[in-house]
Symmetry: C2
Subunit: 124 residues, 2 copies
């Protein structure tokens, strides 16, 4: 059954804000060329989670990993996202939507943030 | 002249939200044991930037690298943070406060987010 990845970010008024998130999506599309990847936003930017999820379902995905591109898991990840996922699940009951931890809570990202902070400090 | 690192995160109502940011600070303190490191928040959590900056100045830091622990650089990084840094600069004119890019905009963190998303997807 086809897998898909649904990245979920906060969104902001400044279009430049989205660049790192678009870079993550682009990187995943290179690293997993057979896996459909969509990037969705909670607010200010499009597509929203329902529209991006719809695209993955239309692409034939039956197992979608939802990955919150948030550093900390606060209300947006713990409360807003589950509600949106319930709506997506009701619209597409034939797809399993799997909620993952916020990337910021993973060891890779914590290590990378520390490495980045250290490199920037050493360079000045 | 003594260097310091001032990490700046958004803050949230949920205390658990701060865990990844505290992990970054802890990691830096291990990796750079001679460099004072403080973690500050924009809202909901303490200390704020002025209080954390005050601690670094009191510790004898004369060059402080301010590192925004944000994924994208929106209004908080582009507008709120420079205003706070001006206040800090006015209070401590003998310290140079150097503003760095948001960690989420660095290659290390973009790569780590993609790796983390890929690992979580592969595991399910």
């Amino acid at each position: 059954m086809e897998q898909g990845i649904l990245l979920f970010a906060h969104g902001a008024r400044d279009p430049q804000w989205a660049l790192p998130f678009e870079a993550v999506a682009a990187r995943l599309r290179v690293q997993a060329p057979d896996t459909p990847v969509e990037l969705a936003f909670l607010e200010f930017m499009t597509p929203d989670l329902l529209e991006a999820g719809e695209r993955l379902a239309a692409a034939g995905c039956r197992h979608v990993n939802v990955v919150p591109l948030f550093l900390g898991a606060g209300g947006h990840v713990r409360k807003d996202l589950p509600v949106l996922l319930q709506q997506l699940s009701a619209l597409h009951p034939d797809v399993s939507w799997m909620l993952n931890p916020a990337v910021g809570e993973t060891a890779e990202v914590v290590e990378a943030m520390a490495a980045s902070a250290l490199r920037m400090s050493a360079a000045r």
